[in-house]
């Protein structure tokens, strides 16, 4: 019996749909991944700050293949007067090139002593955007916590949470911020414990006190932080995430925050020392340093990492080996 559409008509229309899908796929392919880099560099050179910020984020997503964009990104990260493109460019650099991220850090670091409070706030915000690669900036950021300006102290607190390494110095800074007279700074510190996985017996005691804070926003966030500390995420969950390979940067960062408690994921972390992404290798070396003496089983892998192609990864591996040696010599 004859149907409304013949078999041939159905297949012709399905073919048309297939053709349209292929066409859209091609357009998408052309505008994403390494192919998009040149167009995104043009956006970075434009006047539109939103286009600059989005282009920077896109380049950060592309990763090391976006290397041709480093000079433009560095210019924006170090010289742009607008916060959005500046922090976006700074945030993109670590996934593209660790050394370039350190260059941006080196430009902003001396500005923590600038007489202009806006420059000090910008410095804290940009260092925050750089994330864990700005680890050498932590002592300066701890100094920011004594700044006269409330905005600088608040941004410095958020920056400490974003960098989060080395964990001992970060915890001392965050606990200091929890005791800040200004509620916005206390709130910025409390949120690091509510959402970012930081926890220690000392911080828990301060957070318990803050549940009775005169500011209700701080008090409620402190209650949430205490509840989070009482049911921490299991290391096995992070191990599983590492094995699955999804968002390894985040997982390694979280494991590093756990310090010696992350020893359960040691073999998974050590295996990432040979990963393709320099940021992942860097974070793996940092996480091993935070684990401490127990990470000595990964010494051979760390020794090999001393020959890594990336100087920042080599530096992190050397620091980790040195830290393990120091702890060995202190252990009777």
């Amino acid at each position: 019996m004859q149907s409304i559409l013949s078999q041939r008509q159905i297949w012709q229309n399905l073919g048309g749909l297939g053709l349209l899908t292929v066409l859209l796929g091609l357009v998408d392919w052309q505008h994403t991944g390494p192919r998009a880099v040149l167009g995104l560099i043009e956006d970075l050179h434009g006047d539109d700050v939103q286009a600059q910020a989005l282009a920077a984020m896109h380049l950060g997503h592309i990763g090391p293949a976006a290397r041709p964009a480093i000079p433009a990104l560095l210019t924006i990260a170090t010289a742009s007067s607008s916060s959005y493109p500046r922090t976006s460019a700074a945030g993109a650099l670590p996934t593209i090139d660790l050394s370039a991220a350190r260059q941006a850090m080196a430009v902003w670091l001396p500005r923590h002593q600038d007489s202009n409070p806006q420059t000090r706030r910008d410095a804290a915000a940009t260092l925050s955007a750089l994330g864990p690669v700005a680890k050498p900036a932590v002592p300066a950021l701890v100094m920011f916590l004594k700044d006269q300006g409330m905005g600088t102290r608040e941004r410095a607190t958020r920056a400490l949470g974003s960098i989060s390494l080395p964990i001992d110095a970060i915890m001392r800074g965050l606990i200091e911020a929890l005791r800040d007279p200004e509620w916005t700074v206390r709130y910025a510190a409390v949120t690091q414990f509510s959402f970012s996985g930081f926890s220690s017996p000392e911080s828990l005691a301060v957070l318990h006190d803050l549940t009775k804070d005169s500011n209700q926003t701080v008090a409620r966030s402190a209650q949430s932080a205490v509840a989070t500390a009482e049911r921490p995420m299991q290391v096995s969950v992070y191990s599983l995430m590492l094995n699955q390979g999804t968002n390894r940067t985040y997982t390694l960062h979280q494991l590093a925050k756990l310090g010696p408690h992350a020893a359960g994921a040691l073999s998974g972390i050590a295996s990432i020392l040979t990963a393709e992404q320099p940021l992942e290798r860097y974070l793996a070396a940092c996480a091993l340093e935070e684990i401490g003496l127990m990470a000595k089983v990964a010494a051979t892998a760390l020794q090999r990492t001393l020959q890594d192609t990336d100087p920042i990864v080599r530096e992190a591996a050397g620091a980790t080996l040195q830290s393990i040696e120091n702890k060995k010599s202190q252990t009777p």
């Binding site: 409304i4 899908t21 994403t32 939103q50 896109h58």
Partner: protein, 122 residues
């Protein structure tokens, strides 16, 4: 009773098929531009510029919203297209069903997208 002209039936099926496909692709773009113009009081040129910036940005998979529309369009092609041309009763029942489903799909998708974009943080 006069039967409808059977030559109109393939056209109806194909209009629903290609209409759903193209509307699925265009709806996120149209809602984004419309919300920018109405909520953020932007000119069409500015709203279109915003759309262009976000079109291929990470995390903005606007074309993925078309997937249910395309699946529905393929279903429609077979569901209406394979009805025997002499069975007018079955054909009209299926046409009515598909029309209601199409309006429901378009309405639900438009409402979800507008509400998402209208949210204060969006």
């Amino acid at each position: 009773m006069t039967e409808p002209d059977s030559t109109h039936r393939p056209a109806y099926t194909l209009i629903i098929y290609w209409g759903c496909t193209l509307l699925g692709l265009a709806l996120p773009l149209l809602t984004t531009v419309s919300v920018d113009m109405v909520k953020h009081h932007q000119l069409f040129r500015q709203a279109f510029h915003q759309l262009r910036l976000h079109l291929f940005a990470p995390g903005y998979n606007l074309f993925l919203i078309a997937v249910p529309f395309i699946l529905f369009a393929v279903f429609t092609l077979f569901h209406l297209g394979l009805v025997p041309s002499q069975d007018h009763r079955l054909a009209s029942r299926r046409r009515a069903g598909i029309l209601v489903a199409t309006l429901g799909l378009v309405g639900l998708s438009t409402w979800t997208q507008v509400m998402t974009l209208w949210y204060p943080d969006a």
